[in-house]
């Protein structure tokens, strides 16, 4: 398990370095996407599937948005021979994904049956049993959000802070140094 984890981490580091050093914008975006999907695999290996979902969603969205932003500036046209190859690879990948998805759906718990009924030592049952006595919070959602998984909430707050910082910086018309003094 550790070896696979190390491999994925090395893959991510290489992807990050490529994305910085390449001069081709599209290659850089694809390399960044590979790093993101690598982080998702890392979270899966560390047995945090709920966290692994977030990078997948973000990466798909970012890839689409970033490629859309670069289309027309730095995009390569592909010849017909390579197009057939690419299409067949894509079709095989989609079918493979479908096979995995069908298999995975069979493993999902029944509707209304929580995971902790199946896995006895799931964290959820621990939270439910000890939430009130350990945190004093009657609302178990808040107890999980702010006590058991406080790191997670801090990360969310940081994301929000970064978002507003980016919006304020990008949407400002003048930079602070260029601004003439009005006194």
């Amino acid at each position: 398990m550790i070896n696979l984890l190390t491999l994925v981490l090395i893959f991510m580091i290489i992807g990050a370095i490529i994305s910085i050093w390449t001069t081709d914008l599209l290659s850089a975006i694809i390399a960044v996407g590979a790093v993101g999907f690598g982080s998702s695999v890392v979270f899966l290996l560390l047995r945090a599937p709920d966290v692994a979902l977030a990078p997948v969603v973000v990466e798909v969205l970012m890839l689409v948005i970033l490629i859309r932003a670069t289309v027309g500036r730095d995009v390569h046209t592909i010849g017909s021979a390579r197009e057939i190859f690419g299409l067949s690879v894509a079709a095989v990948l989609v079918l493979l994904l479908l096979a995995f998805a069908v298999h995975a759906i069979g493993g999902l718990p029944e509707f209304g049956e929580p995971v902790m009924a199946r896995v006895a030592d799931a964290p959820a049952s621990y939270y439910l049993e000890n939430g009130l006595s350990q945190t004093g919070s009657a609302n178990i959602v808040t107890a999980v959000l702010l006590d058991f998984r406080g790191y997670d909430t801090l990360g969310e707050a940081t994301v929000l802070f970064g978002a507003i910082l980016g919006a304020m910086t990008l949407l400002r018309r003048k930079s602070r140094t260029d601004k003439p003094r009005q006194e």
């Binding site: 919070s137 609302n139 808040t142 702010l146 790191y151 707050a157 919006a167 003048k174």
Partner: protein
Amino acid sequence: MKETSTIVKTISRCVVGFIFLYGLYIVCYGHLTPGGGFTGGVILASAFVLEMLAWGKEEALKSLPFRLAKPFDSAGALAFLVLGLLGLLLGGDFFVNVIQKAYPGKPFSLFNAGIIPLCNIAIAIKVCASLFLVILVLSVLRVAAGGGTEDDLTTQEEE
């Protein structure tokens, strides 16, 4: 911009206070009833946004000035971080609920759960200020021609 109608203005002025009060309730009772800092903060911000939509950004900036919203945003995030670091300093681990460990309150009462209500309040201040700022910045400062600059936000407060 076209003026909103008298009905919208009157109703929104009546309702804004109640929305704000409801947001405060959601934040303060976050550890007892459904809700918490994020939800409550969004409701608090929506009170200011409603004011902005109905009365224009000048009125909303009178309630929550631009120069106050920016420090609120940072202060909320910083307060949350400090509460986490408090656990690291006094309890040995990041985000240890030191207050609850030292003074365990009565369950289901308002003053218990240690740092959780304080975290909720810090997050609420942060979320409220940043959501208001995002909406304000996106509606006032525009990259396209004809948009305002940051000066539009700062000069109006001085009047």
